[in-house]
């Protein structure tokens, strides 16, 4: 688990850097404008953009590094999905986590590949550690993922 998340985060950072360097070329930038209102990209990249770009930034705690380019090693797909899901749904996920249930939490479990029968324990653990996961007001989704990983690997 720990390694999976770490890999995901690493992939995200590398890609975020690449994206910054490449911003001029890219039409699939972060934010609602380009994606929804332009639709000028190929479908493949649109799908990438849809999945992998912070598509609706106003719902986050101020995530700053949510942009990813779409070229990726296929094995990281679900980790990138995880990154973006958490990045795009910070608030709703926080809400569910504090309650210990809900669709956003279930989706997190799906992306973490946790089997159904182990999920109640996972939810309880995340809820109990809420303050450690959403550790401060300016937490980013990277922090959240790091913290989740820490909590889960703590046994």
């Amino acid at each position: 688990m720990k390694r999976i998340i770490a890999l995901g985060i690493a992939a995200c950072c590398v890609a975020a850097f690449a994206a910054t360097a490449d911003a001029a070329r890219s039409n699939t930038g972060c934010g609602i404008g380009t994606i929804i209102f332009e639709g000028k990209d190929g479908l493949l990249s649109q799908i990438c953009a849809a999945t992998f770009n912070g598509s609706f930034g106003n719902q986050t705690f101020g995530i700053t590094s949510g942009t990813l380019e779409c070229e990726k090693a296929p094995t990281f797909v679900s980790q990138e999905k995880l990154n973006h899901f958490v990045g795009d749904n910070m608030d709703n996920l926080a809400m569910d986590m504090s309650k210990g249930s809900g669709e956003y939490l279930t989706t997190l479990a799906v992306l973490l590949d946790v089997p159904v029968e182990e999920r109640p324990a996972l939810y309880a653990k995340l809820q109990a550690n809420f303050s450690n996961i959403y550790s401060s007001e300016d937490v980013t989704h990277i922090d959240v993922l790091n913290n989740i990983e820490m909590v889960l690997s703590a046994g």
């Binding site: 106003n58 749904n89 809420f130 007001e137």
Partner: protein
């Protein structure tokens, strides 16, 4: 002019330059004498494939006033120069294009039009090994990436405050092998515009001056947009499509990538173009032939249901519905606590340490969290304050455990919108103005008024488009247009401790006004208003509005008359089957023709069935120091 003459040689040179490369490098042509191509062309001709309904589905060909044409307007969608109008030429050009050598960049036509390719391949038993490119690898990669497993029709209901969304919207969600709806892909057709709401927007939308494109987003982004930000409850209808059908649907989406059709609000709109995807998925479905020149999202949903594509529906409440529901579980005191936490006047820790039962504390904290999120998204509180309060609240909340909260919060689904009354309405009846009786026919293409059966519709909303009222006077033996409501929208949104809605109305159209000489004339009327409404705990809503009114007509002394005034009213549903609207309204016309017009009325409706009702109305109208009483009884039928 001088400038132009001077510029001419330059222009000429530019023209030459731009023409040069084309002349030097003609576009690659498939060899016309490729024997296999000739054979396929011949077979296609013999089978008259260009007339096959599915070819017309894939190309969006429809018969219009001026003959057959495709509804797609993007030239890139056609391979033949006259492909928009000529199915045969397009089919032959498509076959020829399959024989083009692989391009250096971009997609091969076989790939760009992958649904066409697969259909032709099947119908003509095309031997892939005899083509220059072996199938469409990017599409297969995409399918591998998405792994679509099922498709759901999604209906975000209307959002009254935005006129563009009044009828709601439809989109598709493509579920993947991830077992989570949030990770589905939302396939959406919409006009591309930067225009903010305004007359421009309406006019351009009416006349197809925007381009409509398909787009794909994660479903959760759509949920945020509709459910969290826009207060729109969402309905989901899981479609009964096979794997092969879903694959065809994906192929057609793929073909329509980056392709525009002119977008028309009324008929070629978001809901209509979505039907092409389903038609492409299941040959012979032909949903796109079942609509009129007026496409309302909910009507397309009913057609899809009639075609047997779904049975069940799932309800996904919006954030504001959630807030209202959580609030309904709490006492007034507790609701105040939740608001105080959201407002910053109280620390969540104080609630934690108070003496009330845990279950109440949990609901208070959950409600406070929802309110905070709602207000932040509505830009009512700045980010810094929001982050702090929100996280603080959730931190305290997380201490309580209680994984059952979500189940306790299961919000009961209201009646399904597709079970609501249909969109068109015909009403027949009669009545009298003072002693003079009349017969009346009312015809309305859309959509819902305050007294109609509310099931499946938004409470307190009225959206009328193009209602014509014709009255027949048996004494004078003549029928006349009595009124034509072009637009008559009322949004009565009750305010409460959480939501500070503004109610509003706008009506414009023509109506017959009695003049001083006792005769009546048609005048144009524009009547906007806004105000407040409250749900008094009584089974109904009371409202009050400030209104202005403008009349224009040749029969008026100065051709126009404008005034301001107010209205108050009560809309209630005393039993499930009986609705009433009691109102009073007074407008003082101080500009143009001066007058005072007072109106009070009681309208009632008895629901007879899902699509029928009996309405009765009594109105007292006072103008120019005269008062008259009008009543009518109408039998209403929706269809």
């Amino acid at each position: 002019m001088v400038l132009l003459i001077r510029a001419l040689p330059l222009l000429f040179l530019l023209f030459l330059l731009s023409a040069l490369p084309a002349a030097a490098e003609p576009p690659p042509e498939a060899s016309p004498d490729n024997p296999y191509l000739a054979e396929l062309l011949e077979n296609a001709r013999r089978a008259e494939l260009h007339d096959a309904p599915y070819w017309h589905t894939l190309l969006h060909y429809k018969r219009g006033l001026f003959g057959l044409r495709s509804l797609v307007d993007d030239p890139d969608f056609f391979l033949a120069p006259d492909g928009k109008h000529d199915p045969r030429a397009e089919l032959e050009a498509t076959l020829r294009a399959f024989f083009l050598p692989p391009p250096e960049e971009g997609k091969h036509p076989l790939c760009r039009f992958v649904a066409r390719y697969h259909w032709l391949k099947e119908r003509l038993s095309i031997d892939e090994s005899r083509l220059p490119v072996p199938g469409c690898e990017p599409f297969e990669r995409l399918m591998e990436e998405i792994r679509p497993e099922s498709v759901t029709l999604v209906f975000p209901t209307s959002h009254m405050n935005s006129p563009a969304s009044m009828y709601g919207h439809t989109l598709l969600a493509v579920e993947t092998s991830y077992k989570s709806d949030l990770l589905s892909y939302a396939v959406n057709y919409s006009a591309i515009t930067n225009e903010t709401f305004g007359p421009f927007y309406i006019v351009k939308g009416l006349f197809g001056m925007y381009e409509g494109y398909f787009s794909i987003l994660p479903y959760y982004a759509k949920l945020q947009e509709y459910g969290d930000v826009n207060d729109r409850d969402i309905w989901e209808y899981p479609l009964d499509l096979s794997g092969a059908e879903i694959r065809r649907l994906m192929m057609h989406i793929y073909e329509l990538e980056d392709i525009y059709s002119d977008y028309y609000f009324f008929n070629e709109n978001c809901s209509y173009d979505l039907l092409f995807l389903l038609d492409a998925a299941r040959p012979g479905l032909d949903l796109t032939d079942r609509t009129g020149w007026w496409v309302i999202p909910i009507d397309t949903i009913r057609e899809i249901e009639r075609a047997g594509l779904f049975r069940s529906a799932a309800y996904r409440p919006s954030k504001s519905t959630k807030i209202k529901y959580l609030a309904s579980l709490l006492s007034r005191e507790d609701r105040r606590e939740a608001r105080a936490i959201a407002g910053g006047g109280r620390n969540p820790e104080e609630v934690r340490d108070s003496a009330i039962p845990d279950e109440e504390k949990i609901t208070i904290l959950d409600l406070a969290g929802e309110i905070l999120q709602y207000r932040y998204m509505g830009k009512e509180i700045p980010k810094e304050i929001y982050q702090k309060r929100f996280l603080n609240t959730l931190r305290v909340r997380s201490v309580f455990g209680d994984a059952e909260a979500e189940e306790r919060y299961a919000i009961p689904a209201p009646p399904r919108p597709d079970d609501g009354h249909r969109s068109n309405r015909l009403a027949l009846g009669g009545g009298a103005v003072e002693e003079r009786t009349f017969w009346e026919v009312r015809l309305r293409p859309a959509y819902h008024d305050l007294l109609d059966n509310e099931d499946g519709y938004k409470k307190g909303s009225q959206i009328i488009f193009g209602e014509a009222v014709v009255r027949y006077d048996p004494a004078g033996e003549k029928a006349r247009l009595h009124a034509l409501d072009l637009i008559d929208i009322v949004s009565i949104a009750p305010r409460d401790e959480f939501f500070k809605h503004t109610s509003w109305k706008i009506r414009t159209g023509f109506f017959r006004r009695t003049m001083e000489n006792g005769r009546d004339y048609v005048v144009y009327d524009l009547n906007p208003g806004f105000g407040r409404a409250y749900d008094g705990g009584f089974p109904g809503i009371v409202y009050g509005m400030i209104e202005t009114d403008l009349h224009v007509g040749g029969a008026l002394e100065r051709s126009w008359s404008a005034g301001a005034g107010a209205s108050i009213g009560f809309v209630g549903s005393l039993t499930g089957r009986w609705k009433a609207h009691l109102y009073g309204r007074d407008i003082v016309y101080g500009l143009g023709d001066e007058d005072n017009r007072f109106e009070a009325g009681l309208g009632q409706n008895l629901v007879l069935g899902a699509n029928s009702g009996l309405a009765g109305e009594v109105t007292v109208i006072g103008e120019r120091d005269e008062t008259r009483v009008e009543w009518s009884v109408l039998l209403k039928q929706f269809f």
